[in-house]
């Protein structure tokens, strides 16, 4: 497999995530799209790790290519923490404004 295929796939998923953030008004859907972006990045990282696994330096040490996958692991950790806090905030917002429409978050106006 060519690395370029994985790069392309990851980019497509990433931009779909961005488009989702720009197009939707529901805060939760926007959050979902953020998760999609994170996953696109994870995929790319794993692909890179396998790419390095094929390079000559990998023959030297056994665990040369594992760093990227550890990184993915930690991204998942952070994503989990972030989701819990983020959803708590959204619930707070819902309690106050009774909607999750982001157009109502205009306290920064002027």
């Amino acid at each position: 497999m060519d690395i370029k295929a994985y790069i392309a796939l990851s980019l497509v998923l990433f931009t779909i995530g961005i488009v989702g953030v720009l197009v939707r008004r529901n805060a939760i859907i926007i959050f979902l799209c953020v998760e999609l972006m994170l996953n696109a990045v994870n995929l790319l990282l794993v692909a890179f790790s396998k790419m390095h696994a094929l390079s000559p330096a990998a023959k030297a040490s056994a665990n040369f290519a594992g760093d990227a996958q550890i990184f993915v692991f930690f991204i998942m950790v952070v994503a989990a923490a972030e989701v819990s806090v983020g959803l708590a905030i959204i619930v707070m917002m819902f309690r106050n404004v009774h909607t999750v429409d982001i157009n109502f978050l205009n306290r920064l106006k002027n």
Binding site: L11, L36, N39, A53
Partner: protein, 174 residues
């Protein structure tokens, strides 16, 4: 065209299609479900790359826990297709165009690389849980421990934010 390529293409199609459906569908519950499908596709990619540990962890953590949490919140707020706010048509167009431009740009940028690297599929030691564990607990043990602190702070933060406010004391003399 060997079987890896075919599987790769199928999985990619599934991923992209589900992602598109996710951002298109009006019902938030549907969106969450479509995203779960995307995760499955991505886990499929991981398996193709022989990143076994990550494939499984992806399903368990992401699809299993995080998406369930999302579903809880969506159900809590009783969101459905009728109450879903829709953005202004023009702004949607702008968003799509911007995203399209970004995609085009990034593809152009990455295409300039003269790399003809190949990716190891179906085989390889890198993704095996034994090897990953060695790397994790030897070189990255400090971040591992600190991530526990991160979780702790996240938990406390979530609880504090989600608390109901206490009623203000009405009688000043007591």
């Amino acid at each position: 065209m060997n079987i890896s390529t075919i599987v790769f293409l199928l999985l990619s199609l599934m991923a992209v299609g589900s992602a598109l459906m996710m951002i298109i569908s009006k019902n938030p519950v549907h969106s969450v479900l479509w995203l779960i499908l995307v995760f499955f596709a991505i886990s499929g990619h991981y398996i193709l790359l022989n990143a076994q540990f990550l494939a499984v962890v992806n399903i368990i953590v992401y699809a299993g826990a995080i998406m369930v949490l999302f579903l809880f919140v969506v159900m809590l707020m009783n969101l459905n297709a009728d109450t879903e706010p829709i953005k202004n048509y023009r702004m949607q167009l702008v968003g799509i165009c911007t995203g399209g431009t970004l995609l085009l740009l990034l593809v152009l940028i990455t295409n300039r690389m003269d790399v003809e690297q190949l990716v190891e599929t179906n085989a390889g030691n890198a993704g095996l849980i034994k090897n990953l564990g060695m790397v994790l607990f030897k070189q990255y043990v400090l971040p591992f421990e600190i991530s526990s602190v991160l979780f702790l702070s996240a938990m406390i933060g979530a609880v504090v934010i989600g608390r109901k406010e206490e009623p203000i004391d009405q009688n000043p003399n007591s």
